[in-house]
Amino acid sequence: MPPGRLGRMNYFKDAGHLFRFAALFVIAFLVFWAIRGYVVPRTFGQYGHYRAAAITEIAARSVQFAGHEACEVCHSDIAGAKSAGKHAHVNCEACHGPQTQHAADPTITPVKLDTTILCVRCHAASAARPKSFPQVNADEHANGVPCDTCHQPHSPAMDGSAAAAGDAK
């Protein structure tokens, strides 16, 4: 090596290699960025490490139980009778089942309920139930006669007037 060769060496003589290398990195990053933009949902990370759009998708699921407010729009007479009795806080669909379809289209009529099955779900005597809750041994009490023969389900009077009305008809 001639003396002084090192001092005059052009460090950037082959810099073109570096630029090509850097360009590869830039292209790789752009490809990564493009793929990431494509596969990561737009709302991911909006509120946290999850897809925020999932919240609105879950909120858009269909409702089966219309809610007692929807029932009371049309059935105000029954709601009135119910509000005076012991079943005031039992909502309509707790017995009648899901009625969204009926609320949307009143020609779809709900199925008739069987009070021999329905009432005992709550009122069958059991030592496990709170003592203050009205309970009855249905077999001894009714012997298979449907409860609504004597009791009015919407306002089960406790003074015997419902039973008397039942006897009369």
């Binding site: 999932a54 089966q64 496990a128």
Partner: protein, 243 residues
């Protein structure tokens, strides 16, 4: 219009990202519902529960829960005087069709409805490896069905046993606190159908919600408080034998 190769290389990824945004669209937000104005929970009033199973049936109908799986269920405890720490607990078919009659016996009976506690610091959301389950800004623990892989880490992590793998979808399913109802101004299916009012949806951010007065004046407990999950299902008069 002349575009050289270099320009195309720059434009293609940008166009792909832009197109993805167009496809995604703006997420539809429920009218009049502001997530930031709510912090949902539930109050379960143990002395009011009669074990009729109405909540379990209502939940299964409302949320199409497969038979044999439960987003909510009811347990019946039987605690005898001599055996406080070892109660007899039954939950036949989740209490869906009620319970066998209990004869007058020693000790006490009571019902404990159970469901997702919608924990503020939930262990289940922390273990999800893909960000498929999360606590929403209004305090409801949800599962993104499009992201869930069904790895069941969260099923193991839940201290309350409130998650299951859906037998057909093969992804995790759980109580959503009827998110599709509460965001429309309705209450949950279980609370709507509870005949005694033992279950009540509560909004802790609503200053007019009666829960605030209730919490001040009643003995209220959450399940497994020692795990510091920030559970938001409040049990009134919960017996010490319940775990």
């Amino acid at each position: 219009m002349n575009i050289n190769r270099r320009q195309i290389l720059v434009l293609l990824p940008a166009a792909a990202v832009a197109w993805k945004s167009v496809l995604a669209g703006t997420p539809e937000s429920a009218p009049n519902y502001q997530m930031s104005e709510h912090w949902w929970g539930m109050l379960i009033d143990i002395p009011k529960c009669i074990g009729c199973g109405n909540c379990v049936r209502a939940c299964q109908v409302e949320n199409q829960v497969p038979d044999g799986y439960f987003r909510t269920w009811v347990e019946r405890y039987h605690v005898t005087d001599a055996n406080m720490t070892n109660p007899e607990v039954i939950s036949p078919d989740g209490g869906k069709e009620g319970f066998p009659a209990a004869s007058e016996d020693a000790g006490k009976y009571f019902f404990v409805p159970k469901m997702c506690n919608h924990c503020a610091d939930s262990p289940c959301t922390q273990v999800c490896p893909v960000g498929a389950t999360f606590v929403s800004p209004d305090g409801v623990v949800l599962v993104d069905p499009k992201y869930c892989l069904g790895c069941a880490y969260c099923v193991q992590a839940c201290p309350y046993g409130c998650r299951y793998i859906h037998p057909q979808k093969k992804i995790v399913d759980k109580c959503t606190l009827c998110y599709h109802r509460i965001t429309k101004g309705l209450t949950t299916a279980c609370a709507e159908n509870c005949p005694t009012g033992a279950r009540q949806l509560v909004d802790l951010k609503n200053p007019r919600d009666p829960i605030h007065a209730f919490l001040k004046t009643h003995s209220v407990q959450v399940l497994k408080p020692q795990m510091a999950t920030g559970a938001k299902v409040y049990y009134n008069n919960l017996d010490g034998s319940v775990r």
